[in-house]
Symmetry: C2
Subunit: 282 residues, 2 copies
């Protein structure tokens, strides 16, 4: 089921600027037992992305109601809720319309059947050839211009490799194609600065907060592939997979370490404490 501006539809106008220019944003949200996890944080990020792109933020209550209506369709399923907001329809040309009427699209998708072993024993990652461009105007936000990720993900077809890590054009490791990246070195947690490229994920933010809350030092900085490969532990995260330790990058092997396991536990606690609940269950 797909809701476009509140109506059940599967098609969008060709003149929608989301299609013409990737002129919009999206959120990908885990749904467990009819509950959209960290829903409020996703809405906050969507609002902050809209502010950055000067797209009027659709009514948050409306988005909540529509999200609930969708989640109610599969009340006991594990699912993915995707929200897209675009600058709406417009004429040909980059200039935005004088009056912007954003398009909002909510859709529910099956949860991908990732083996549980990925979060328990870790995954294999590769280093992508495709680089992330540097762009402070767009860095950090989850906009619809995602060709870099598409090109990076098209680099491999080997199902033994679960994620590709992306460097920027200055040889700094930034993130995975669909995940944020952390490493642990001497009991401190490191992740990339996202002021020039990358997407500031919801789980990335939560991992940083809960780690600080539990007494870890958390450092955002720019690091090279060699610095990454000298780490004690490495993991990737996003809203759908949670945390996957990395057990191998190319020929280098890593163990699933104690700090990664602790952060997984803290994240699970945080998730169950703050999951968004349907108020008006039928």
């Amino acid at each position: 089921m797909i809701l476009i501006n509140g109506e059940s539809k599967e098609h969008i106008e060709i003149s929608d600027r989301g299609f013409q220019y990737g002129d919009g944003l999206f959120e990908t949200i885990e749904v467990r037992d009819g509950k959209a996890v960290f829903f409020e944080r996703h809405l906050e990020r969507l609002k902050s992305g809209c502010d950055r792109l000067y797209i009027p933020f659709p009514d948050g209550q409306l988005l909540s109601l529509e999200a609930k209506a969708l989640c109610r369709q599969w009340p006991s399923a594990h699912a993915v809720l995707k929200i897209i907001v675009t600058r709406g329809t417009g004429g040909r040309g980059y200039r935005q319309p004088d009056v912007i009427q954003p398009t909002r699209i909510l859709s529910l998708h099956p949860y991908p059947d990732y083996p549980k072993i990925y979060s328990e024993r870790g995954i294999v990652a590769r280093i992508c050839t495709t680089r992330l461009g540097l762009n402070p105007t767009l860095a950090g936000i989850k906009h619809l211009n995602r060709l870099e990720q598409v090109m990076a993900r098209a680099e491999w077809n080997d199902s033994a490799v679960q994620e590709g890590l992306m460097l920027d054009v200055n040889d700094r490791v930034i993130e995975g194609t669909m995940t944020n990246l952390f490493y642990i070195k001497n009991n401190s947690l490191y992740t990339s600065v996202l002021s020039q490229s990358g997407v500031a994920g919801i789980i990335r933010g939560i991992v940083m907060t809960i780690s600080v809350d539990h007494g870890l030092s958390v450092i955002e900085h720019l690091f090279t592939k060699n610095e990454l490969l000298s780490a004690d532990e490495i993991f990737v995260c996003n809203s759908i997979i949670g945390i996957w330790p990395i057990k191998q990058i190319e020929a280098m092997h890593f163990s699933v370490g104690p700090i990664t396991k602790s952060i997984q536990i803290w994240l699970n606690e945080s998730t169950s404490k703050t999951a968004w609940l349907e108020a008006d269950k039928a």
Copy 2:
């Protein structure tokens, strides 16, 4: 009228990757008296963009037939033909489908009513704050990830300013929001290198060729705003406007010089020699 994969429609599936990720390309083509100008060159660039993004190129003959069918709707109008090709529909996630069935969309639009004075007396340009990111994977091609241009074009609303010039994150002047940029200094023609950012326009390529043919030196290099402002003549170009001299950038004034005027004449000659003709006029 819009043709989507040969059928008259105005809507596209939400699951089209053009909408989900800007995973596609486009061409914007001038139509004069039912003839699509430089059509073959646009098709060539579209094909080369498809190759770069690993999107199977739709049948060129099919695209020609569909373009002709559209142009026949407005046989004597000045119009704009837009062709979009995307990676087609797909599931959620960046990974491309195992079998890619590209979507092709052709649409005809009114020609924008730019005053003739722009090409004769020149336009006013500004320098945009929004920077172009550096990305060799995507540089040069006319893909659907156009948020940088959207953000740059959103910087001004003053109808006295016709174009915004964009610098990259390294302070090099690259192009206009919707145009390529040339300047003339000591009788040589200069334009930016587009290996890290920018769109390699059809008219840009033709301007370079015809200028060399007429004995001008043409130099592609990276230049700063100060180098640009010390030019003898400056102009921008694209497939819809042709060539617009720049008469003013911020407080600096420029005259519409003899070399720009010559290139305008050469471009007009080239256009009338090579315009794509409908073979099967009704």
